[in-house]
Amino acid sequence: MTLVDLAGQAAGLLTGTGEFLAGLCGAGIQAAGAGAATAFEAAVQPDAVARRLRFLSWAYTAVWLILAAYLLLLSMRQRRLERLVRQLRERVSPPGPTFRP
C-alpha cells in the first residue's frame, strides 16, 4: 500500500466521516438548539440562537475543508514525486537484459 493509497483511504474516510458528521452535526445542532431553547430562551432572541448556530456550522465546515484541501495537496505531491522517481530510476539504470550465470 503506497502513501497515495493511504491518503486516498484517509480522504475517503474523511469524506465518509464528513458525511456522517454532517448528519451528526445537524443532529447535534438540533440537540444543542433544543438545549439552547431551555437555557437561553429567556435571555436570547431565537434569531440570535439561529445566527450563532450558523457561525458554528461555518467554522466546522471550514475546518474540514482546510484539512481535506491539505490532504488533497499531499496526495497530489506524492503522486507527482513517485512518477518522477520512477522516471529517474529508469534513466539511472535502464532496464536491460539481465545476466544469469
Binding site: 500500500m1 503506497t2 502513501l3 493511504l6 491518503a7 483511504q9 484517509a10 474516510l13 466521516t17 456522517f20 458528521l21 451528526l24 452535526c25 443532529a27 447535534g28 445542532i29 440537540a31 444543542a32 438548539g33 438545549g35 439552547a36 437555557a39 437561553f40 436570547v44 440570535a48 440562537v49 445566527r51 450563532r52 448556530l53 457561525f55 458554528l56 461555518w58 467554522a59 466546522y60 471550514a62 475546518v63 482546510i66 484539512l67 491539505y70 499531499l74 505531491r77 506524492q78 514525486l81 513517485e82 518522477l84 522517481v85 529517474l88 530510476r89 534513466r91 539511472v92
Partner: protein, 240 residues
C-alpha cells in the same frame, strides 16, 4: 512502499476518535452560559491552537538538532512539523474570527493574542517561502531552521498575552452560574485534543514520507546529471 504499522494504527485510532470527539463537542457538552452554541467552536479551535504550537515547537527542536548535527532526516522532520504548524495555525485564524463575529461584533481586532497568532502564521508562511526560494537544500535547511526558531520565540508571547496585556481573548470559560470549565466541557476538550493529536501524528508521518521521497528524487536527479555530464546526454532537470 509500505506504510508502517504505527501509521496505520494511528490512522485507525484517529478515525475512531474523531466521531467520538464530535459527539462529545456537539451533543454531550453543555451549552455555555453567555456565548451559547457558538462556544462549541472552542472544541476544535483550542486543539488546533495546541497542534499549531506542537508543530512550531517540534520544528524549532528539530531545527536546533539539525544545526548541530546537519542530518537530512532531521531537516525533513523540521519541515514537516512547520508545515503542519502552518496548517493548524490557519485553522485557528479561520475559526477564531468566526467565533469573534457573533461574540465581539467584529471579525478581527488588534487584540494581542490575535495579532501575535497572526505573526506566528506569517512566520510559518515565511518559513515555507524561504525554503522554496533557497538556492539549494543546505541553504533551505539553514534558513528554515532560523525561521522555525524565531517562530518558537513567538509562542510564549501568544500563550501569556492574555495575562500580560489583559486582552479580550477568553482565558477561562464559565457556564452560567459556574466557576470555571464544566467537567463535561473539559472531557470534550480533552477527547477533541487527543483526536487532533492523532490526526497530527498521521499527517506528520505522511509528510515525512513525502520529504524523504523528495530527497530520493533529488539524489536520483543528481545521479542522472552526473551520468549526462560524462556521457553527453540530457540533464535530469530540477526537482521542486
Amino acid at each position: 512502499m509500505m506504510p508502517g504499522m504505527l501509521e496505520r494504527l494511528l490512522l485507525l485510532a484517529a478515525t475512531l476518535l474523531i466521531p467520538v470527539a464530535i459527539r462529545m463537542a456537539f451533543v454531550l457538552a453543555p451549552t455555555e452560559g453567555k456565548m451559547g452554541e457558538v462556544q462549541r467552536i472552542f472544541y476544535f479551535h483550542v486543539p488546533s491552537a495546541e497542534m499549531a504550537f506542537l508543530g512550531v515547537g517540534l520544528s524549532a527542536l528539530f531545527s536546533v538538532v539539525y544545526l548541530y548535527g546537519r542530518r537530512r532526516l532531521v531537516d525533513v522532520m523540521a519541515e514537516a512539523a512547520a508545515e503542519l504548524g502552518c496548517l493548524f495555525c490557519t485553522i485557528v485564524l479561520v475559526t477564531g474570527p468566526i467565533w469573534a463575529r457573533p461574540i465581539w461584533g467584529v471579525w478581527w481586532t488588534g487584540e494581542v493574542r490575535l495579532t501575535s497568532t497572526l505573526v506566528l502564521w506569517l512566520i510559518l508562511v515565511g518559513y515555507l517561502l524561504l525554503r522554496q526560494s533557497a538556492a539549494d537544500r543546505e541553504q533551505a535547511a539553514r534558513w528554515g531552521a532560523i525561521a522555525a526558531i524565531v517562530g518558537a520565540l513567538d509562542m510564549p508571547i501568544i500563550y501569556k498575552s492574555v495575562e500580560w496585556w489583559r486582552g479580550l481573548h477568553p482565558k477561562v470559560l464559565k457556564i452560567s452560574g459556574g466557576g470555571g470549565l464544566d467537567p463535561v466541557m473539559g472531557q470534550a476538550l480533552l477527547v477533541s485534543s487527543l483526536a487532533f493529536l492523532l490526526l497530527f501524528a498521521v499527517l506528520f508521518m505522511a509528510r515525512v514520507r513525502l520529504g524523504l521521497l523528495e530527497e530520493e528524487a533529488e539524489s536520483l536527479a543528481r545521479a542522472v546529471d552526473r551520468r549526462a555530464a560524462t556521457a553527453g546526454g540530457a540533464p535530469a532537470g530540477g526537482v521542486s
